[in-house]
Symmetry: C2
Subunit: 388 residues, 2 copies
């Protein structure tokens, strides 16, 4: 493994009844004026909004609101929330939603404590030096944002979608009650599953040596996702299945399974280019691109693909070459995504080759992307073309 | 899984060069007067002591010392260190050693901030409300104390060995450089391996349902320990093998693989009784008792033993009953310990049945021990008798 520093100070609460028992105590550690940040208002339809607001108000907490965070959260929206926080002197943010709401909240938290434009953190012009404290209540199993310091923001003006992270933007606390994911649509559930599975793949395809335990832990998450996916999709109100999926999402990207591992992350970089222009769901984009990335880079290390094929998908390697098994592994990933009706071509989102060159160009703006195989502009273009 | 709250704020540093690069910065976050806590002085033989002291002094840090922490760290020693800290006004403790030194440091840290006897925390008379900050530099892969809040102290006067934990006693930072474990003897290395393996077993034998990912992660740690053990024992200077083992030790007991899982912990409780009287190495005691505990409780749930046998030890279940496979699994654990020349009977430490009744009595002083199967006094006595 590579030398590493790991630090993850988020207080993580899982299970039924935890919000009722601990939310107020956690909030009051940081102040008495809270800004509730949420998305399109689905949290009002199943009672979560009322529960939280009633709970906070009963404890003497002043609750302000900021709603309308988009699925690919926009910089312009983040700007508005920052302004509100500065004007109102908010003590704490409380994100209620999925990864987009949480990512937006991280941007707001860092932006409130910065005099310039928060976008500077995403373009790497500056690093956050401080952030407003924030907590989260998760309503979608997917991004792992509830227990990490990263977030992705879309700048619609420049058509850029970029991620950023900072030690200052870990949630102080996160509440994960699987019941709050019961009403997530089948489509959104699938996107979430693809997203968390992809997070593991990004770490798994690595040339870092001496990572025996990390690899096994990643395989554990992948196997559990695969086993659990049909349960969640067949019965969206199955608490145990929803909770297992939520837990897989958290563990896939809280840094624990990938300590000291240099991941790849080219597929995320490529997906960001696509959704920066076409505003497609992140999980949908990943489902399309990942198998094509795999086909393109398999020669850079067939062994890890073989390992995934045999250990995660239990493909029998008898009488087959490493390459054959590796390719069956890639097919198994595609098949897993297909089994959930995830999209498989950019055409599924009516995306043609019009902006392909521009996307490839922007993907490599600071150099080649990926680590398993370094991808130059023409590599990115080739992968996206294969995905058309 | 059970509802759970997880919080682990330790900053974990792994790899070569991390001490040189980050120790001074970490220390200075907490003050400029440090008490170095260590054991018998082995850290002086391979240069670690000099390296740390030089580094701290070069940064203007005042370094005091407290040495002589015993392998089963004693309350009387902890008392002396607390007195020294209070007298000198120490800002921060720096534990350099294995689990015993780290556990003692946790007791010192909590004791300095408490007016009564720190033993109150171990007898559950009081809970720590505060603690002096402390960091650790690990020299033995075993207990996981470098990334958890627990510690075990022996009261030689009352012949009690009891563990305690508190949110206040997480290390602020821990440095794990596998090179600092190169000179650990074969015997101590084996004890460490048995200890970390046992930590996983204690969590693994559980009736908590819906813990698919947690179980797989535990199996990942066990498999990696088993694979890696011969490498470490054959070549104690193999950095990669030593680091993998160190990492297994950390992951076995930092809470990550067992979120929401009710573990058993009867074997640890029984071992503590034995070593409270006979002062035997913890890992040695566990190696003796664990397989006997398994034999005794297997009827309380053969399925998990079957799962361990097939998934961890790859025992072929074809044509065998669940019970047979379960028993082969238990034999495999015994065989794994034997393969490293770990002790297998209490007789190996010249322990007879003299104090057996007294140990069993004390083990259940606050009620039955264990969760996989609740053990009353006569159960404990039967297990210890089988281990004679």
């Amino acid at each position: 493994m590579n030398p590493f520093a790991f630090w993850n100070p988020t207080a993580l609460y899982y299970g039924a009844g935890q919000i009722e028992q601990h939310l107020l105590t956690e909030v009051k550690k940081y102040g008495s004026k809270v800004l509730l940040v949420y998305g399109g208002g689905s949290i009002k339809t199943f009672g979560l909004y009322d529960k939280i607001v009633d709970l906070l108000k009963s404890g003497g907490v002043t609750v302000l609101e900021f709603s309308g965070i988009e699925p690919n959260p926009r910089l312009s929206t983040v700007h508005k929330a920052i302004e509100l926080c500065k004007k109102e002197g908010v003590d704490l943010l409380l994100a209620v939603g999925g990864g987009s709401v949480l990512d937006a909240t991280k941007a707001i938290a860092a932006g409130v404590k910065y005099d310039g434009d928060v976008w500077d953190f995403y373009t790497r012009k500056e690093r956050p030096q401080d952030a407003l404290p924030f907590g989260t209540i998760l309503t979608l199993a997917a991004t792992g944002s509830e227990m990490n310091s990263g977030g992705v923001i879309s700048n619609w003006e420049t058509q850029e979608k970029i991620g950023s992270s900072s030690p200052h933007t870990f949630p102080k606390f996160s509440f994960c009650d699987a019941e709050n994911t019961f009403t997530v649509s089948k489509k959104q559930t699938v996107y979430g599953i693809v997203d968390m599975f992809s997070h593991v793949l990004e770490a798994y395809f690595s040339h870092t040596t001496n990572t025996f335990l990390q690899e096994r832990m990643m395989e554990s998450v992948m196997q559990t996702i695969i086993e659990n996916a049909p349960k969640v999709l067949d019965n969206p109100h199955d608490f145990a299945a929803r909770e297992t999926m939520m837990y897989c999402g958290t563990m896939a990207l809280n840094g624990m399974i990938s300590m000291g591992v240099q991941g790849d992350w080219a597929t995320h970089a490529m997906e960001h280019e696509v959704s920066a222009i076409y505003d497609i769901p992140h999980g949908g984009g990943l489902a399309i691109i990942f198998p094509h990335w795999m086909n393109y880079v398999v020669d850079a290390g067939e062994e890890r693909f073989y390992q995934m094929a045999t250990r995660v998908f239990h493909i029998d390697p008898t009488g087959k070459t490493t390459k054959q098994v590796a390719q069956e592994g890639i097919q198994a990933v595609r098949h897993f995504f297909d089994s959930m009706d995830a999209p498989s071509t950019l055409g599924d989102y009516d995306i043609g080759d019009k902006d392909l060159d521009r996307m490839a160009e922007h993907a490599v703006r600071v150099g080649p992307v990926g680590n398993y195989k370094k991808l130059a502009k023409e590599d990115v273009a080739a992968i996206l073309r294969a995905a058309l």
